[in-house]
Each structure stands twice: as C-alpha cells, then as structure tokens.
Symmetry: C2
Subunit: 231 residues, 2 copies
C-alpha cells in the first residue's frame, strides 16, 4: 500500500517514451519517493506493461496513473486516477471514470487513489485534450481545489502546469485552501532551483519530462532541491 | 447533526411553493425522518428562510438542499449539496459547487453532505436544467453511482425521477452497485403502494410533490408504505 500523503518528490515516466531497465534502476536510486507510470498520449496497455517490467528491479514504489480506461492494467500496483476539476466537458470530470467502472469488474478500491487535477497550461497536451478552463484567477483555482478536497474528499489535489513552470501565486492559493488532501505540483521542474521553489508551495513535487529528456543526474538534483526545501 | 444514512423516508418541500406553519407541523408529525428544503426553480434566500421559519415548530430534522450558491443560507441547518453525475455540462457536476466555494467563506464542512445525483427523467425541471444524459441502460446508471460512491466517496447517491415513478431496474442496479453510500430514490411516490415498492430498492424514499399537492394524509400513507417494506 502506498501513501501519496507521505511523498514529497515523485517521478512521472511516460509509457509512450519508455525506459530501459538500467535507467529505471538508476531513477529508482535517485531518492525519489515513487515512480508514477502515466502519460497523456499514445498510452497502451502493452506500453504500460513493458515499462512496469523495466521498473520492477528498482527499490521504489511504482504506481500507475491511467490516462484512459483502456490502458488500465491490474498488476497489483496502486492506481492514481485523475479527475480534471476545471475540464471544459464532463468527459474528463466523470465520463471516463464512469466508463471505466462500467467495463471493469476487477477494481480493487483499496488500491485506488483519486486525484483532483487543476490543469493550468492551455498549451499542454492535457490542457488541450480536456479543454481546461485555464484563464482563472488564483482564488478560482483554489475553489476548484476545495471542491476536490472537501466536497469530493479526494486524497490528492494536483496543480498541473505540464511543460511549463507555473504561477506560484496559483500554487500558493491552492495550498492555502486545501485542508485535508496532499497537494501535488507538476510542470517545468527540471533543476535544483525549480524543485526547491515548487516545494515551498506544494506538498509533493512531480518531475516528468526532465527524467526522460535531461537524464538521471538532473532528476537527482530535483530530489536534492525538494529535500533542501524541507530542511 | 443529521445522519442521512439513518433515514428511510424523507419529505422534500419546495421553497417556491411554501408551506403554512400549521401544515409544516402536521408534516413533521407524519413519521417522516427528515424534511428537506429544496427545489429547482424560483428558489431565493428569502423563500428558504420563510419556509425554515414555518418548519421550526415541527419536531423533525430540517435540512437544506441548495439549488444554487445564491440561495445558500447559514442557519445552523445541515446542507445536502447535489452534484449531478450524468449532467450534460460541467456546471452541474463541479461548476456551481466551485462557484459556491469561491464566494462563501462561512462553509461549515461538518454540516455538508454531498449527494451524487443520477437524474433519469429528461422532462423534469432538473433534467432539462442540467441537460442530463437520461437515455442510459441500468448498468450505466450504476456506473455513475459507483463514481459517486467509491471514486468521490459521497455519502448519498440519489436516483432522481422527479415527477414520474422510475424504472425499478435502474434503481435496483444502482442499489446493487453502491457499497458505502445511502441510496435515495425520488420521483412519483404519492401513495402507500408506490412508497412500498420504492423502498424495496432504495435505502431512503423521498416524497416531494405529494406533500404539497395531495396533502398530509397522502404523505402519511407513504411513510406507512416505507415502514411496511422494512418489516
């Protein structure tokens, strides 16, 4: 059983990009608290299984964040399941989740952690896909976070700037509004400094692209940044 | 503190229709477990306050189900706050809730109970207002109910046929799918027989229009129907 509430640094790896076993082992050794298998585009069950197999050898929890019902695999891993609070259509708030529950009768709810996303970068893949309402003030982002935190009682509120470093006023407003959930921040964290800054506002910093594009040393630097912010 | 999980019969009264103090006292005396103040159209804060004042004299819990953020009153009553899982637009799933949380800084979360609605009558006021997807099979309604019950952990799942007696296959499928929440059923319950039948499938039967249109004796008959189903 994983506990997202205990994490302060998470590495997100994309099944569409894949990863060698050797690199997966080095990623696990960076000090990151968990590896999340998740991406927005081109995710298939086979790619997820192949990445999971590469990650097996590392000594760190591996969690799956499915992007669509068809890519859900039941491998004993815990699942982080998104709902996008500020999506433009119902599909990404409740639709794909309903579809998953309709077609999957193997769901182990003790392994499912719901994440309430507030997607803030309109140019990101997830922003375009979900038609997210990103032109909102910090207090409106915070109100979406409160829906996730208090009305839906979700364990995770996730401020997602995917691909760009976010507005710290928004992250800060969300963090102040959230009372129970763990606040994840993702987007543009590719260095010690960025990681350290993000960790000032969020409970947990998610590093995605950097792990693929900049290598394991850069990832290790982001872990250090988060650790130093926590001192 | 009220406990929707303990209720088996609830009377919903509409602020737009109002009620005399004398009638309110008689409604409270029918054996109904709670009176819910809620309606879809023409609800204002003044009408809610006036109805609450009439209901004060009865010896039964009075709960408010706000239909929009502008009609929320903080009177110490508990709040049942809807989200419509099968709404056609995001407004009724998360939008008005977000708006409420943005403008109201007096929310006492210990008094808020979220209700996950599955709206099934396309011709009802709520069906039209929320553009609900009502043309769905029982298992799809059940999947929406599971989103409310397990993914969002809502205390109440509400199958709403408002104005017409529902398809018992749908209510039955929802009841079988729901594991934690209390299943409310509403719609067309205006007699002993209807109440008794609805209570076979739902944990709690909601009687609305009958209390206004058919009088207190008819309401008492619905209480008897539910009680007999429970024997």
């Amino acid at each position: 059983m994983v506990e997202p509430g205990d994490w302060s640094h998470v590495t997100k790896v994309d099944p569409d990009k894949g990863m060698s076993e050797e690199k997966a082992r080095r990623v696990a050794g960076t000090g990151t608290d968990a590896v999340v298998v998740g991406g927005t585009q081109g995710v298939t069950r086979d790619k997820v299984l192949s990445l999971l197999s590469a990650l097996e050898s590392g000594d760190v929890p591996v969690v799956i964040e499915p992007s669509n019902p068809a890519s859900v695999v039941h491998t004993g891993n815990d699942l982080l399941v998104p709902t996008v609070l500020n999506a433009g259509t119902v599909d990404w708030v409740v639709g794909i989740q309903k579809e998953w529950m309709r077609i999957d009768d193997e769901i182990d709810w003790s392994r499912v952690f719901a994440e309430g996303y507030v997607v803030m970068n309109p140019d990101s893949a997830v922003g375009r896909l979900t038609d997210a309402k990103t032109d909102i003030a910090p207090e409106e982002a915070a109100a979406y976070a409160t829906v996730a935190d208090r009305f839906f009682d979700l364990p995770v509120v996730y401020v997602e700037y995917s691909g760009t470093f976010g507005d710290t006023e928004v992250v800060s407003a969300v963090s102040e509004a959230v009372e129970e959930a763990t606040v994840f921040y993702g987007g543009g964290v590719d260095s010690y400094e960025r990681a350290r800054e993000a960790a000032e506002y969020a409970d947990c910093v998610v590093v995605g692209d950097a792990a693929h594009d900049k290598g394991v040393e850069a990832l290790r630097e982001t872990v250090r940044g988060v650790q130093d912010a926590r001192r």
